[in-house]
């Protein structure tokens, strides 16, 4: 049947909103047959939302139209997406570990004879053929759990290919594999593409885009900024499109400087597989930003400092004295405060009331003389904090799960600050929060710094980190690559360092 339309996939005017934030704003994306199309953008630009829509995770819950080969389609769910010819390969493997490669490829669609007996010979024969056609060096008989991540990824590709997917979406495929495997992966991609499949390739590694992609689209703040032929552009260009926005004056003047007194030093922090030889200093009243791509290891670094995760080697110094932090209780008693990135599950206890959450770190303070929890003291303490942080809640007994995201974050902050920490660690403190609450949190943090509290802040929003921090360290793949002072800060510089151009 002749395909009148030149495009295999057309996504038109795609918009999706979440409470408080517009993830995608009128995005248009057109994919041809036999094309490798890269999508790039910073964290939060909308890439994962776009993939989720295409892979069926949101069903109908978006605005806009999707057409395949000219026909409008209505993706009802992830299974339906696969039936329509769209396969997605995520960073986390979705194979069944304890069975063979071949069986994974044919999962759920084993060929049988008319009595229902599975024809294993056929399964292994077909799998072998597929692997051979794509020049993948694997035998179909091995169990998946004996394969490396890279090899498992290849199996997923073969699986997607074998269900005759027209479109395979790859989400950060090279994030956990070696260079050699990457080369291998690209060869296989080229082979698949020549066979008639198109690939949507999401990656932060801009260098790779030039190795494998035909076209590239840059997303920023949920909008399509530019779509270009890869041959007509270069890395610097792409980075420029990724960041090019007016900084705006969201953050106001910083009318104070951090002191020069160093209160904390990290030396050669290493955790196998996560980060290596990270060293930095922190001054009193300073806001130090940790920038970098998602998965670069920032969260892991601060969690190890705080004592939640282990540290394989390296030293921590507080006020010049070496300290040993082996648990979160240690972290707290050493004067650290920590607000986790995963605010909903880690920084607050959803089933507790506002008051219970705020006072959980200070149980000793709310005890009466005989050692029992005094509800009066608990209420007083909680009330003080609610007032100080302008937490909007109908009552102190309200369960935090019923508060808005912004207010939940405030509760997390209030709780964290209840111990009067000298060093505050914030991991993505304003992620997913509406603009109003964001500003409040920023003001709060700045005031704290002004009063002498030091802050280590992880943020993937470049404007935020530039506006808030005195200095910014960039982490790339577990290594601290560069540190910028306020004066030298620019989004392009940060992003370049994060992706590896600088």
């Amino acid at each position: 049947m002749a395909n009148n339309n030149e495009y295999l996939l057309e996504m038109s005017n795609i918009s999706k909103e979440f409470p408080g934030v517009k993830a995608l704003d009128n995005v248009t994306f057109n994919l041809k047959e036999r094309e490798v199309f890269a999508i790039v953008g910073e964290n939060g630009a909308g890439k994962s939302t776009l993939i989720k829509i295409l892979s069926g995770s949101y069903g109908n819950d978006f605005d806009g139209e999707i057409k395949i080969s000219g026909e409008k389609i209505n993706i009802q769910g992830p299974k339906h997406a696969i039936e329509l010819g769209i396969s997605t390969i995520y960073q986390e493997t979705s194979l069944v570990q304890d069975i063979t490669v071949a069986e994974n490829i044919f999962l759920g669609r084993q060929p049988t004879n008319k009595f229902g007996k599975i024809n294993w010979e056929q399964i292994f024969k077909y799998s072998e053929k597929l692997l051979k056609d794509l020049s993948i060096n694997l035998t179909p008989h091995v169990l998946v759990n004996s394969l490396s991540t890279a090899q498992q990824q290849l199996v997923e590709i073969v699986k997607a290919f074998s269900v005759k997917s027209k479109i395979i979406i790859m989400d950060e495929p090279t994030s956990s594999i070696t260079e050699e495997d990457t080369e291998n992966l690209f060869n296989i991609i080229r082979r698949i593409v020549s066979g008639g499949t198109s690939i949507i390739y999401i990656s932060h590694r801009i260098k790779e885009i030039f190795m494998i992609a035909d076209k590239v689209t840059v997303l920023r703040d949920g909008k399509t900024v530019k779509t270009m032929e890869v041959s007509e552009t270069d890395e610097a260009d792409i980075v420029k499109y990724m960041v090019g926005r007016e900084l705006g004056d969201l953050y106001g003047e910083k009318s104070y400087k951090a002191s020069q007194k160093i209160i904390f030093e990290a030396k050669n922090l290493t955790r196998k597989g996560k980060f290596k030889d990270v060293s930095f200093t922190l001054r009193e009243g300073e806001i130090l930003g940790l920038s970098g791509l998602v998965g670069a290891g920032r969260s892991e670094i601060v969690r190890s400092i705080f004592g939640l995760d282990r540290l394989d080697s390296g030293d921590l110094f507080l006020y010049g004295q070496k300290v040993s932090i082996k648990s979160s209780a240690d972290g707290i008693s050493n004067g650290f405060g920590f607000v986790s990135e995963d605010r909903r599950t880690e920084s607050i206890i959803q089933g507790f009331s506002v008051a219970a959450n705020i006072t959980i770190l200070l149980l000793k303070k709310i005890l009466s003389r005989i050692g029992l929890i005094s509800s009066k003291r608990e209420k007083d303490l909680a009330k003080r904090h609610v007032k100080e942080f302008s937490i909007k809640t109908p009552s102190l007994e309200q369960l935090v799960m019923n508060l808005s995201g912004g207010n939940q974050q405030k509760v997390a902050l209030a709780r964290c600050l209840s111990t009067n920490p000298k060093i505050l660690i914030l991991d993505e403190p304003t992620k997913g929060i509406d603009v109003g609450a964001k500003k409040e949190i920023h003001t709060l943090v700045k005031n704290l710094a002004n009063k002498g509290v030091s802050v280590i802040m992880i943020s993937s929003e470049l404007p935020e980190i530039i506006g808030m921090c005195h200095r910014v360290a960039v982490i790339r793949e577990g290594i601290l690559v560069n540190t910028f002072n306020k004066e030298e800060l620019s989004e392009e510089k940060l992003l370049s360092a994060a992706v590896g151009n600088a």
């Binding site: 069944v96 304890d98 069975i99 999962l107 759920g108 084993q110």
Partner: protein, 318 residues
């Protein structure tokens, strides 16, 4: 000399269970000559038949990631219904017993899969309910069967091999076939190994899970009928506590409590090992209370080992 030592070690590692069985037989026969008699060995197989039959169904359920604590109760209940229905004829009575037991599995499946209630609670509850029901129906006394022919199943034999052992063998072969050559069996591994993946691959996880619960109770019902047949009696306390042993023999045989792997070949070996141990405890006249102690320890060891050695995938659908 060295070569044989190496060969033995490789065999021990490869086929651990078979190795254990052989070692046990050798050691126990050396310790007590009466162990290695035909009578002794056949009695092991005999006693383990009931356990073995139930372990078939349990294995299949375990692979999918769920478990069933009600099998003992199902077993007793099926026996009771069978004996009660004997006035209507042998065929009806057996059919009725099978139906009764299997429908408990359907109830389990419904509550766990559709109701999304924890399998532990559900099967604990059904166990108590149907044991209680059994106690009530039989007024706490064992009831005797009225058809002599019924005993053939449990007691009869052909060419010296008891029918029940034949039944056991047939069931294992059938289960092996199902697990290897049918979608019903292969999807079991997928559902247990990565339920999300299975769902995306188009497998109707809910339906299959339900069927696995049904199947598990089905085999328990068969076991109940065989047991009742062998003594022509049904009692509501038959099989009290057997559920742990059934699960343990499967886990010992390599079927993980976390689902996704295992098989009946391992299970039968696990059953045999447990049978040998039981027989040994009898031969050496070990006090029944110490037997319990021993059993309890085996359960804990087996299960802790399974927990420590099995990698668990992060994705959970249940």
């Amino acid at each position: 000399m060295k070569v044989t030592a190496k060969k033995i070690t490789n065999f021990a590692i490869d086929k651990k269970l078979l190795f254990i069985i052989i070692v046990l037989i050798i050691v126990l026969s050396a310790a007590d000559k009466s162990f290695f008699t035909i009578r002794s060995l056949t009695s092991i197989l005999d006693h383990t038949t009931i356990l073995g039959i139930m372990a078939v169904g349990m294995t299949i359920l375990l692979i999918s990631g769920w478990f069933d604590l009600s099998v003992g109760g199902v077993m007793a209940f099926s026996g009771i219904i069978t004996i009660l229905l004997q006035p209507f004829g042998l065929f009806i009575s057996i059919l009725g017993g099978l139906l009764a037991g299997t429908s408990i599995g359907a109830l389990n499946g419904l509550l766990v899969v559709k109701g999304k209630i924890n399998a532990f609670i559900v099967t604990l509850g059904t166990m108590i309910i149907f044991r209680g029901l059994g106690l009530g129906i039989t007024k706490s006394t064992p009831i005797k069967g009225t058809i002599d022919a019924f005993q053939i199943i449990g007691r009869g034999s052909v060419f010296g091999i008891p029918y029940r052992v034949l039944l056991l063998i047939i069931m294992y072969v059938a289960a092996w076939y199902i697990l290897k050559y049918t979608k019903f069996g292969r999807n079991d591994y997928a559902i247990g190994g990565n339920p999300l993946s299975a769902k995306l691959a188009g497998i109707n996880v809910n339906l299959y899970a339900f069927l696995y619960f049904v199947f598990c109770s089905f085999t328990a019902a068969i076991a109940g009928i065989v047991l009742s047949s062998s003594v022509n009696t049904a009692s509501a306390v038959f099989g009290s506590g057997i559920e742990m042993l059934v699960i343990v023999s499967a886990v010992l045989g390599g079927t993980s409590l976390f689902g996704g792997k295992g098989g009946v070949v391992g299970t039968i070996q696990g059953v045999i090992i447990l049978g040998i141990i039981e027989r040994a405890m009898v031969i050496f006249n070990i006090d029944t209370n110490y037997q319990s102690l021993f059993r309890g320890s085996i359960i804990i060891i087996v299960v802790v080992t399974d927990a420590l050695t099995t990698r668990r995938q992060e994705m959970t659908l249940r």
